[in-house]
């Protein structure tokens, strides 16, 4: 078993709108993959399909050699692009909620991450500024010992310090067995942490390559390659 996630021919329409068109992807263990494209490209739909929130019209998703099933969610830590926590919660309630929901939740790790990210467990979720909220969500996500982390715009609209802390949390949460799929359109910000990139536009996968290949073979930064690929659409 040497791939963490395999996606074959994923296709999905919402009414007459084609959201995903025959998407193939593969992510190896120990790697951080970036899923990039403009708004409306279908990034969130791919993540939601892996989470089985959206049912595909066609295609297969294999996680660690096994087709997705009702147990798969226990192996995937998902960070949605919106606040999914209950408004009445304090941060400590959210931690307790995650601990009850997921068997792989590590309370020690959540304490460490709260210290590192300077999160106050007594704070109310409702009143958290957006940078703090994003820190809280990343803390909850990486307190789990998941096989696959799905992150939907984890660094969108937040200050540089919070962004750096979040990227460091992602990096230190990695090992040889798990992998990360990170959906974002902030290409510059994630240049140095990515192993692989997937470029998506209007539901079609335009290109995929390893980050070092892009730099070594093409002599380009990910950003330059992104602009080249998307300019020729």
């Amino acid at each position: 078993m040497n791939t963490n996630l395999n996606i074959f021919g994923l296709t999905k329409s919402f009414g007459s709108q084609l959201a995903l068109d025959d998407v193939h992807m593969e992510i190896q263990p120990g790697r951080i993959a970036g899923l990039m494209g403009p708004n409306g490209a279908g990034k969130t739909t791919i993540l939601k399909t892996i989470m089985q929130i959206v049912k595909p019209d066609a295609g297969n998703i294999i996680l660690n050699g096994i087709p997705l099933n009702h147990n798969s969610r226990q192996e995937i830590a998902y960070l949605p692009d919106h606040n999914h926590l209950f408004k009445w919660m304090r941060v400590r309630d959210a931690i307790a909620y995650y601990r009850d929901m997921f068997v792989d939740f590590d309370s020690e790790k959540s304490k460490e991450l709260c210290d590192f990210l300077k999160i106050d467990p007594q704070a109310h979720v409702r009143t958290l500024p957006s940078g703090m909220l994003e820190r809280t969500l990343i803390m909850l996500t990486f307190s789990r010992k998941a096989k696959l982390y799905l992150l939907d715009e984890p660094i969108g609209g937040i200050d540089p310090l919070a962004r750096q802390k979040i990227l460091q949390t992602i990096l230190s949460g990695m090992n040889e067995d798990n992998s990360v799929l990170l959906a974002t359109h902030l290409v510059n910000e994630v240049e140095t942490i990515l192993d692989d990139v997937f470029f998506l536009d209007k539901g079609c996968l335009l290109a995929s390559d390893s980050a070092e290949n892009i730099r070594e073979q093409r002599g380009k930064s990910i950003m330059e390659y992104y602009l080249e690929v998307f300019e020729n659409v």
Binding site: G30, R31, I32, Q164, L167, Q168, L171, S172, M174, N175, N188, E191, T192, I193, L194, D195, A211, E212, R215, E216, G219, K220, S221, I222, M223, E224
Partner: protein, 118 residues
């Protein structure tokens, strides 16, 4: 650390560690942080850091002892070669830049002498 995104990142990390060795920020025989720790410090993924470390090991700049960690080499000849390589490269870069600015070798030499006097 600020990386140039068009140059392979592992090469830039190698350069940075070599520079630290030459400047004395890392001393001969000193133990390096773990690959994981270094990856977070440099802000890069584990695979990139691993690659930088194994290339440095291949060049003999660091030595890894299984289960203990990686250490800066104490081999004087390697450190000497490293210094020579770094100096050669910087001089080459400098000369290329000056020549592309249209200076003759003689003018470059005069400019350097002037620079020393300041």
């Amino acid at each position: 650390m600020n990386f140039n995104p068009t140059i392979p990142i592992y090469l830039q990390i190698m350069d940075s560690i070599k520079k630290d060795v030459l400047s004395g920020a890392l001393t001969a025989g000193e133990r390096l942080d773990s690959v994981r720790g270094l990856a977070v410090k440099f802000g890069v993924n584990l695979n990139t850091m691993q690659r930088a470390c194994s290339e440095l090991e291949r060049e003999g700049v660091i030595q890894t002892q299984r289960g203990i960690g990686s250490f800066v080499t104490q081999d004087k000849s390697i450190l000497k070669a490293l210094e020579r390589e770094m100096v050669d490269q910087k001089v080459k870069e400098f000369l290329e830049e000056m020549r592309s600015a249209g200076l003759t070798d003689k003018e470059i030499l005069t400019a350097i002498e002037k620079g020393f006097k300041k």
